[in-house]
């Protein structure tokens, strides 16, 4: 009966109560939403590259190698010579190997030279392959396949010519050899979206007339002549390696790291991604802190609502007292009320979250390449909801204790 009365009392103040519940619900939605985005981002991040067992490059740090080979951030300090590349490729453990050659750019996007195998071997989000959205994978020497962001930002369509610049943010352009957009990749949410992919030979081809980072004055080899040339690269930036058996990963890694002819580094992409996330992850802590603050704000809002309702409800409390309710009942009534509001807020927040996810999931995926799975709430989320109810109870103690004092002083007579 007391619960029913508490409910009826809440209903009687439906508007303010609804606002309070809505505030709690929105804060809960925000908090859980941030959680979802955070875990989704973490999962997407960890899934930036999958299916690759080792990444090989010149010896540097593992995070650095990961950054430039996968995320196209920063530069390689050194290259991997073609001989070393061949040596690794011929090792018995190696199932496949894909070379990557970086160093040039087109507008603000990196250009990556690789082989056609890249499109088969590069996997993201638990084994998903790259898809061509428009056109086809490059076939000709001067064909380029571009990522979805490149196409969107620069407004490129299949067949458009593009000119590759030497180095990054450089004015020296490889004007002699314009490329043609042969295909546009579908959005992946990985750095591939922001990459112009050409063949390994194409990288060599545009550097035919170049030496030590500068064009040889007056020299310009005709395109036809270039096509006849042997465009075997001298070096590549890094290589993605797949092994025949997962058991061989560590053995191969060790062998590469101890390769006598050249200082090399082989990394496990998963491990390096974890290391990198630990650095990036500071932002997630900040996000959680901010959304926790929002919950605290909503709780204080509820406390204020209960406080302001106390005066108009002194009569109600006096009636309870006159009927023989102990002041303790008044206290528990208010706490119960707060718990009800917090619980309703938490539930509504959960509903809003799933509603929001259901609507926004495809939008977020296409806009940011971030896939947020819609699943049953996990234990952590249930704990958050429980925490909200508990916080509501704790916060409501402040006005409840005041009501307790008031009802002790007022007794059955209210002089209002």
């Amino acid at each position: 009966m007391i619960v029913r009365l508490a409910f009826a009392s809440l209903l009687a103040r439906a508007l303010t109560v609804a606002m309070t519940i809505l505030a709690i619900a929105l804060s809960v939605t925000l908090f859980l939403g941030v959680e979802k985005v955070r875990t989704g981002a973490k999962a997407s991040f960890a899934d930036t590259i999958s299916g690759t067992d080792l990444i090989v490059g010149a010896r540097s740090g593992s995070v650095q190698l990961l950054l430039y080979s996968v995320f196209r951030i920063g530069n390689a300090t050194n290259n991997l010579t073609w001989e070393s590349y061949q040596d690794i490729a011929e090792r018995p453990e190696v199932d496949w190997i894909v070379p990557i050659s970086l160093g040039d750019s087109h507008r603000q996007f990196r250009v990556m030279g690789t082989t056609a195998a890249f499109f088969d071997r590069y996997k993201y989000r638990s084994g998903q392959s790259l898809n061509i959205q428009d056109g086809a994978v490059m076939e000709d020497l001067f064909d380029a396949t571009i990522g979805a962001d490149v196409a969107q930002t620069l407004g490129y369509a299949v067949g458009d010519p593009i000119v590759v610049a030497h180095g990054l943010a450089s004015f020296a352009e490889h004007k002699d050899q314009p490329f043609r957009v042969s295909g546009i990749l579908a959005k992946t949410g990985t750095p591939v979206d922001r990459t112009v992919i050409v063949s390994l030979e194409a990288i060599e081809a545009i550097h035919v007339d170049w030496q030590s980072g500068a064009q040889i004055p007056g020299q310009s080899t005709p395109v036809d002549e270039i096509r006849q040339m042997d465009l075997q690269p001298q070096a590549v930036t890094a290589a993605l390696v797949g092994v025949k058996s997962r058991l061989q990963i560590f053995g191969l890694q060790r062998a590469i790291n101890e390769y006598p002819q050249e200082p090399l580094l082989a990394i496990l992409p998963g491990v390096a991604l974890q290391e990198l996330w630990q650095i990036v992850g500071i932002a997630e802590t900040a996000l959680i802190a901010v959304s926790a603050m929002v919950i605290v704000t909503a709780m204080i809002g509820m406390m204020a609502t209960i406080f302001s309702s106390l005066n108009e409800r002194r009569r109600e409390m006096a009636i309870f007292r006159a009927m023989g309710a102990r002041p303790r009942v008044i206290l528990s009534l208010l706490v119960l009320e707060a718990a009800l509001m917090a619980a309703l807020g938490a539930l509504l927040g959960l509903v809003l979250l799933y509603l929001g996810l259901w609507v926004a999931q495809p939008l977020i995926d296409s806009a940011f390449g971030l896939w947020i799975p819609i699943e049953m709430p996990n234990m952590r989320e249930l704990w958050v909801l429980l925490g909200v109810v508990c916080a509501g109870v704790i916060v409501s103690m402040v006005p409840a204790i005041r009501a307790y004092r008031l009802s002790l002083a007022d007794g059955m007579m209210v002089k209002v």
């Binding site: 009966m1 007391i2 029913r4 009687a12 009636i319 309870f320 023989g324 007794g411 059955m412």
Partner: protein, 233 residues
Amino acid sequence: MEKRDHILEMNDVFYRWPGRASFALAVSDLRVAPAETVLLLGESGSGKSTLLSLICGTILAQSGSVHVAGADIGALSAGKRDRFRAEHIGLIFQQFNLLPFASVRDNILLPLRFAPDRAGRVPMPEAEATRLCRDLGLPDEIAQTKAGTLSVGQQQRVAAARALIGTPPLIVADEPTSSLDAATQATFLDLLFAQSRVHDTALLMVSHDARLADHFDRVIHMADIAQTTRGAE
């Protein structure tokens, strides 16, 4: 032994409100016999509210004794006093008696929630609530209505039903008719008297309206039993 004879007995009670605006009330002698109906006449400010609070045990006398149904109120702990009030006293106020958001039935049944013995005397509370409503001239279907939507006259009858349920030995009414018009007043009082007679309940009504005197067994003037002092000590 003598105390057993009276449902209410106050002896040499003195109470002073704490705080600066000191107001003190002294009651030398007030007795109400079981099933007796007593009208306590007094102007506003004559200490009626304080007297009622003393009887109900929400405040305690600094000296003297208050006995209700044979029990010394002052000797009970705060929690026991609340329970005791719920068990033995039905209360009707001047106005704003009911929880406006709750149904009439819930309002009537509310005191039973805090008085297990009283609830024990009502095996079928909902039927009893309906019966009381009917006896007090309220329509049957009113039980589900929200109390806040009733007229003042109806609300006072619901308050009477709430005071009567579970037949407490004493009903204390604080100007229950002052918010009603003359015709409604008479009907209300008739119904209240009829019910308290049926249940052998004593009725102590506080009012400033001497015209009500005819209805009661006995009329006591506040001035005859109590002295009030105001101002500085």
